[in-house]
Symmetry: C2
Subunit: 469 residues, 2 copies
């Protein structure tokens, strides 16, 4: 088996990341495009849906995230001359296809769940409509963004449930790919986190950044006292001091003293090792005995939703979460797929299509419309999915069932709906998630594995239940 990956003509100077997003794409999307251009089907009107057949194993609910990032990415989905040259040189596709790509802009329409909304099995998170050529080539990019961001936001939401209102901050940059980490910080905010250690996420998404010092800062100085004095001199007494490099009790005493030496009360101590429940109780007692009753305690050692829940009774003021946040707490991908569900025939009439193989992975053809049914007590009771071609009849069916429609316009004929992007879009998503989650039945708050908190029901327009593959 050969392991020689380099092209013969590859130069030592590595190209930097493409400024556009168009090659963040599986090759088969472009070869399918070429095939469709050949067979005259590339212009057939098509509808793709992005959804999960089920929630990631045993999760109670999913959290829609990545919507604003996808809209950003679609804005930059164009092919540069360098990219066209690459596709030509590597003979990925033929000249006709390159001509099509050279001028490509997405001009289709995307509807979907708004970012932050909760979702369940089969929820149609995105419905992408356009020519086959247009809708086909967004597949990989849309899936990459949604599969990662939804996984992180869903994990984040479980953690903020477990934290019961105590602030959670993302400290996971070092445990994820360096660019994924930036997106994770953003997805965490959708799931209820309030801050990140990641500076690029601060710059790019306006997320508040936090962080003060590591063990190395203490070890850099000749004594712990000198290190703490240096930190409060530089950052003020309100800083958070890491107290577990040597002896924790001694560290706490020195930290409080260092802050008072510059005329203030210490902002917080951080505990990053050991039995955090016991250490938090000990630290609180010591701080109170020292009169530092306003000094907070933050903890940061390998936390996940279960560890956070276990700290619920401990006198902890905030959590910093790393690995388990940015890797989706055991579910590193949301397992979403992107499937063609309708396309026009030669007469321009839309036809439902679906994979139907003995091998499994069957899909339900036809465009779907989703609504959430809320019961008399105000709790979400059902995810209702109606197969229908037209929005008017679908919305009527959802209305008849008392369901709140869940899909909104994200892109209309190529025009991106700006309210879903940028810092305002992110803030709205976080608020939307807070409201959507509050509406879920109490089962949704359980951290244990189990069934989705809200069952999904598929109806056709006559109100008959549709069986799903």
């Amino acid at each position: 088996m050969t392991t020689q990956p380099a092209q013969a003509n590859a130069a030592r100077t590595t190209p930097t990341a493409s400024p556009t997003t168009s090659l963040l794409t599986d090759m088969y999307e472009l070869t399918m495009l070429q095939g469709a251009l050949h067979s005259g089907t590339a212009e057939r009107r098509s509808v793709f849906e992005l959804f999960g057949r089920t929630l990631p194993a045993s999760r109670r609910f999913g959290v829609v995230a990545g919507t604003g990032r996808l809209l950003d990415a679609i804005k930059r989905f164009t092919f540069t001359a360098q990219q066209i040259d690459f596709l030509h040189a590597q003979k990925v596709v033929d000249d006709d296809t390159l001509d099509f790509l050279r001028d490509f802009r997405f001009t289709g329409t995307i509807r979907g769940y708004a970012e932050g909304e909760c979702y369940f099995s089969g929820s149609p998170l995105l419905t992408v409509e356009g020519t086959f050529a247009q809708a086909c080539i967004l597949e990989t990019l849309a899936l990459s963004i949604y599969n990662y961001d939804c996984a992180v936001a869903s994990a984040a939401s479980r953690m903020t449930i477990a934290a019961h209102g105590r602030p959670c901050a993302d400290f996971g940059a070092r445990r994820a790919h360096e660019r994924a980490a930036v997106s994770a910080a953003r997805a965490a905010v959708v799931g209820g986190f309030t801050a990140t250690s990641n500076l690029e996420a601060g710059l790019r998404y306006g997320i508040p950044t936090v962080g003060t010092s590591a063990h190395s800062f203490t070890l850099l100085h000749d004594t712990e006292e000198e290190a703490f004095a240096a930190q409060v001199a530089a950052l003020g007494p309100g800083t958070t001091i890491l107290v577990d490099t040597y002896d924790i009790a001694q560290g706490i005493e020195r930290a409080v003293r260092a802050a008072r030496a510059v005329g203030g009360e210490l902002g917080a101590v951080r505990l990053d090792s050991g039995d955090l429940v016991a250490e938090a109780f000990k630290a609180r007692a010591q701080l109170d005995a020292l009169g530092a009753t306003s000094t907070r305690i933050t903890v940061t050692n390998d936390l996940d939703e279960y560890a956070i829940a276990a700290l619920g009774a401990a006198p902890v003021d905030s959590y910093g979460v790393g690995t388990k946040l940015v890797t989706g707490s055991g579910r590193p991908t949301a397992a979403l797929v992107y499937k063609l569900v309708e396309r026009a025939d030669d007469d321009g009439v839309m036809q439902e299509v679906a994979k139907f193989s003995q091998g499994g992975k069957a899909t339900v053809g036809g465009r779907k419309w989703a609504g959430r049914v809320v019961d008399a007590s105000g709790r979400a009771a059902e995810e209702l999915i109606v197969s229908a071609r037209e929005s008017t009849e679908a919305l009527a069916a959802l209305g008849a069932a008392g369901a709140r429609p869940l899909q909104v316009d994200l892109v209309v004929d190529g025009v991106i709906q700006e309210e879903h992007r940028g810092p305002e879009g992110l803030a709205a998503a976080a608020e939307r998630h807070r409201v959507s989650r509050a509406e879920l039945p109490y089962e949704a708050w359980r951290l244990s594995e189990g069934e989705p908190a809200v069952p999904t029901r598929h109806l056709d327009l006559d109100g008959r239940q549709v069986l799903r593959g």
Copy 2:
């Protein structure tokens, strides 16, 4: 708990990803820098090491990956005016610190395991030497790159072990963050993969790209026959046809016929659902009966190293691996850390330092040198790690123990050693891994969880064993 992340002044136009890598950094690195500038310790000569306390749970060996990417990232580790403005506006650090950052270039020295080398518990993968200011602020970036790339390369290596020489291709783009996926394609090559579906990875790293069609292409056409005819017309008879949209046996017959209609024999069929072992045997028998003995079979449905192993006796020609590759097959991060192990005192004398807390996470102070001891049969028997300040005495100690030194120069006084970058660096890494893995004892090839295949022994210069925390 507030979920309002947006800064008051944040504009709707989201900044695109920074062109430099300097803010892919935890905020505390810059606040520590500020503290060290205040206390006069920022210029203290310091040595940081990047290592794993243990291998990711129960793995037999790790694979070094990300080295070339880190060197690329260090080249672009500078602060733009926009970034400086952001740090200023958000009051992340003070003006003195901003002055330092404005002109920052890494001028330190990095030695480490060459990319592709196998590693074990405690192996010092990178040793970063410079002023504290210089070496401190690479922490997050180095960890992000190594934690992700090593996780993927290690998973890839397990898969290519299980594949026993059959080619493995990365099809995971859709199941990872869109930029992480590009790096995953590269790390997979280090672990023995030969191709990727990811076009950006093809452009950026010179990795051969593959891909032909999805179920949507078949569904786009009115009949499977039309779809297959369109594909061979566009891509030639040597293409790979996906045959499981409807009935697999019918699909295979139609695919062979479509290729012959344009005067060739079909290149391959792809199976993407169902019981792949059974389907592969059935497909092979059918292809042979049709006389299509040269037509290959590739399989792609949720593969991991165990599924690949289970297909070992089936007539499969190649594997396409998605989710489990790009998420590290259950170990999405390599759990590597970056720790200060030595720094100068006021007299410029280097002093060993280490966290030593009752809370755990203790580290071994002092710079470390690593070598691999190979037994008489040519198999790796021991990872030997020597604590020593000077390379000459360390190399002598390794030599006395019969160990092959494992660390090489990666950056020397800020000068990046170019042979570790670019497509040639990647090709060398893949070949290095092939050789390094072949040297491991047979235990390394076991997919079951267990102890590292090679034990790690720490020695001081007198040959005494050092206890690790």
